[in-house]
Homo-oligomer: 197 residues x 2
DNA sequence: TATTATAGTGAACGAAAGGTCACTTGTCAA
DNA sequence: TTGACAAGTGACCTTTCGTTCACTATAATA
């Protein structure tokens, strides 16, 4: 029971912080959204900042669990088409999973205020996808699916535009479908450029 | 005199909003940073929100003046090397100009809260550079400096990675030099891929 | 059964927020 | 010289914020 409420507080905090930012969120509203009165929250966290820190802890742990280690690297696609499919699958999850979307928004909003948010933002927005596709492209080059080139550079050239469109989805959700189509078109264009026929 | 203070208030607002966000900024501090007492600010703007709106007006006007119309399109580079030089020149301005950096941070932080900030963010982060380099690449293809391809797609593939590294500079300024080197390396890699020898 | 820890309530608190207002000061036009 | 107005001050108001605390209800424990 205790733990349940504690987690529900974090979930509500993620929702409110990602919408209104840390400074723009107040404990009254947060509590109310859980059917609690605000003093009830203080039975589980000693302060607003403690909630923020716990949420960041959870986000960091979540990232480590889901994307952190080599076990989570995707299988190397065995065809050029499979690269697009892998990409679209990942994009669809990342753009439609509410929790991931909120996490990204939160990191976007708070990256300049909190050092740990800053680090995690860079991983989410830049190095995470980059490392993953460096691995993918290295494998694809070994299998002669991609022309020989610097896999890190290719991964950067591939993931950064995709990342930009994911950010667009966060910012203007009504453009999501369009952005996803653009990502697929970009993926195919990339393959047309670097793929080995 | 009146106008002077009015503008100084906007400058201070840009600084504070871009650092602490709208909700995290208070009029007392803002006034103090100008050597004023807070009621003095209300002689020039009727509310905090009015300051925000005036700042956004200014930002929108500034963008229109500096990057908005066809007059501001850069000359089409006459060589592949000139493309990298044009790029690096633009990147250096955009990364080192304090006002532009603060504007970008502000839009990053407030894009989910304000509709006009959202629009301007998309222009700053995505469509602005994109349109500009669509023009550049169209010209370079006509001059057979770049291989024939979809100029919009190439512009997107070129500008999005650069944009990602500019965001990195905003987030982690100590990585600025490194990021700029990466941009140059990326530009040269891009040319190696799409340039006509 | 008696006890005790836990989760939640509601009133209250001090600090800080945005905003108002009567007042002073300095500048310039009539 | 005087009157009017713009710019700035400082005290004050109301609201909202984060936080505390004495208290209650509940459910597990001894």
């Amino acid at each position: 029971m205790a733990n349940d409420t504690k987690e529900r507080i974090l979930a509500a905090a993620l929702e409110m912080f990602s919408k209104n930012g840390y400074a723009g969120t107040n404990i009254r509203e947060l509590s109310a959204s859980l059917g609690l009165v605000k003093s009830g929250v203080y039975k589980h966290y000693e302060s607003k900042e403690a909630i923020w820190n716990a949420l960041l802890d959870e986000m960091i742990a979540y990232y480590a669990d889901h994307f952190g280690s080599a076990e989570h690297l995707p299988p190397v696609p065995d065809s050029l088409e499979a690269l697009t499919q892998l990409t679209m699958q990942m994009v669809n999850i990342t753009v439609h999973d509410e929790k991931i979307v909120m996490t990204r928004k939160l990191l976007t909003i708070e990256q300049f205020r909190d050092g740990r948010a800053r680090e995690l933002a860079t991983r989410h927005f830049l190095t995470g996808l980059n490392d993953m596709f460096t691995h993918v492209f290295t494998g694809m080059m070994e299998r002669r699916l991609l022309r020989q080139d610097d896999p890190k550079m290719l991964a950067f050239a591939y993931t950064a535009p995709i990342s930009a469109l994911i950010h667009l989805c966060d910012r203007e959700p009504e453009k999501t479908e369009d952005a996803i189509r653009k990502i697929e078109a970009f993926s195919r264009h990339f393959i047309a450029t670097y793929g080995v026929k």
